[in-house]
């Protein structure tokens, strides 16, 4: 048969292959992204750092609730731990740090508890290549043992540097971070830290309600509070919210913009595959170039020169 018929059959094959590929691949990038539709009733915690007294009962309660080894509660009265800034790790999912208070605060110190912020648009979920991390409808960002391959991309991605890796375990090491007491809450309980706080510096409730409460507090006591609610807009919003008497940077809470942390990387990655139009166009273009160059040698070498 004529060479044209062979060419057309190959083009048909390419077309079919591309169409099949597009059909098979196109939905996947969309499902890998964190679900933008969040429940309006999702829960959160409001941390009022002007109320916290640095008793560290929350640290003890957290370890107890998560079956992590801990010293007896009495040992938490030791104030020397405050001399160094601490971060949550695989042995302590939440820690309290001490800071100097603003000048006219009436007390020499302020304390701030840190743990996973449970972002509305979590960078760790976006970065995880196997879907081991997920944002659940009730607000918590959860990690699954079954899926994790230990790549630790989540640790790099987190804008708050929260996920921790069990480096000391040679076999089946886990990523450890606050799970917002998912199991306790599912059975109607409170997060362990919230339950143990003697002064209710941690208020647990629906995120929307907490923002209303926080705003009412800042409005009512403007001398006591900075007007900003940390976490309301940071990195697209977080489930844990903070109130402070001064600059949040003084409590070493990172300055972050309102854009979700995975925004840039996701827009690039998802943009490349959006509806499979860019790859389809690329392969189409390549196919076109091949088709053009395929025709050229037929005329070129046997041209007038020979």
């Amino acid at each position: 048969m004529s060479p044209s018929s062979g060419r057309s059959s190959r083009r048909d094959f390419l077309k079919t292959a591309l169409a099949a590929g597009a059909a098979g691949l196109a939905p996947r990038p969309a499902s890998a992204a964190p679900k933008p539709a969040l429940s309006p009733d999702r829960m959160g915690v409001l941390v009022d750092t002007t109320v916290c007294i640095g008793c560290r009962n929350c640290e003890w309660a957290c370890k107890t609730a998560h079956a992590l080894p801990t010293e007896p509660l009495k040992s938490y009265e030791d104030k020397s731990v405050f001399e160094k800034f601490r971060r949550p790790d695989d042995k302590a999912l939440t820690v309290v740090n001490r800071f100097d208070a603003p000048k006219d605060a009436g007390t020499p110190h302020r304390w701030a508890k840190i743990q996973c912020m449970h972002c509305d648009r979590p960078a760790c979920v976006s970065a995880c290549i196997v879907g081991a991390l997920s944002k659940s409808e009730d607000g918590s960002v959860l990690w699954s043992t079954r899926r994790c391959i230990g790549c630790r991309y989540c640790m790099v991605a987190c804008p708050f540097q929260v996920p921790a890796f069990e480096y000391h375990k040679a076999l089946e090491p886990s990523i450890r971070k606050c799970d917002f007491c998912h199991d306790r809450r599912r059975s109607g309980g409170l997060p362990a830290c919230v339950e143990s706080c003697p002064v209710e510096a941690l208020t647990y409730g629906p995120r929307e309600e907490l923002i209303r409460v926080a705003r009412a507090r800042t409005k009512r006591y403007p001398q006591r509070y900075a007007s900003h609610i940390y976490g309301e807009s940071e990195v697209g919003g977080t489930s844990w919210l903070y109130l402070a008497g001064g600059d949040f940077a003084d409590l070493r809470l990172p300055r972050l913009g309102p854009d979700p942390a995975p925004g840039v990387s996701e827009s690039i990655q998802h943009g490349i595959f959006a509806y499979f139009i860019p790859p389809a166009s690329l392969y189409g273009l390549l196919g076109l170039l091949m088709w053009i160059s395929k025709n050229r040698p037929e005329r070129g070498p046997h041209g007038p020169g020979e």
């Binding site: 109320v51 007294i53 104030k79 009436g106 003697p198 002064v199 409730g205 309600e209 009412a216 006591r224």
Partner: protein, 330 residues
Amino acid sequence: MTALLLALAAASVAWGAGPEARPSTAGAAGCRLCHTTDTPTKKDPALVPCPRYSMKKRHALGEAPETLTLGSPGGRYGPVRFPHKGHAAMAAMGEGCSACHHYDLARPIHGCGDCHSSTRARPDLDKPDLKAARHRLCVGCHAQWDPDETCASCHAGEQGAPAARAKGPRGASRTNLPERVTYRTPSAGGQVVTFRHDDHARRFGLPCAGCHRGRACRDCHGQGAPAGTERAAAPRGPARPGRSLEEAHQACSSCHKDDPCSRCHRDWPKGFEHRKTGLALDDTHASLQCADCHGAAGFSAPPACGSCHEGRSYPKDKPGKPVAGPSKRR
């Protein structure tokens, strides 16, 4: 009390917050006392903010209950034996009952549990729960004057061991008062005033709040200097500046109406400089004559302290500060 108000007081315990807008309590009790609308619903109760600083009546110290037991025995910490009357007596020097209680419209006085929920998981998140409301009040002061306070300072231990404070307060108690306080005043007729605190408080049995009014907790419970130590007995230096003559004398003149200034104001004799001997005398001794200490035996014999100070003797106890050698000049 004209208004009868069943409070759903949205209390948020705050330190240092100034007085603020509160619901109008004028006239008969209506919906508007607690709600911002005349038609509150269960779903949207439209509550006004907590009526803080709404103590309308001055309550007498005698009305205060003696001791309260707070908390339940089931918790991680045992219950707290709260010496309510002791705190009320201290509060009487300052803000009074309203230092802690901020609402008394409906009944003589409200307990915390009347408004603050005893469960932490609750729909109304505007005010702290009962445990938090109590802790915020206690810790607000206790943590300020002693950063080393722990839970066990107030709470009984796990096996029913008594709290560290159960033996009594470490601060200014009736048994731990300054013996005498010496003031240096700007008065020309006698700069030194020695106030015999022990006599007034113990022998005459005067109540603390009789003189100490308008004082904050920290005035006595200073950070790092528990009352009863040197700080309490040390001379106060120049009396608080900026006070008028009347203000400065208010506490004394209510009893000492007709006394001449010289009853309290004393001074050292002109040209008298005891420091030349190598010992700068405390101002407390300004009113004494030389012979009161040095006696008939003259200046070569050791001075006698025993006539005023029981069990004290020179040179073991000194009536002042030793200074660098006798001055050769002058």
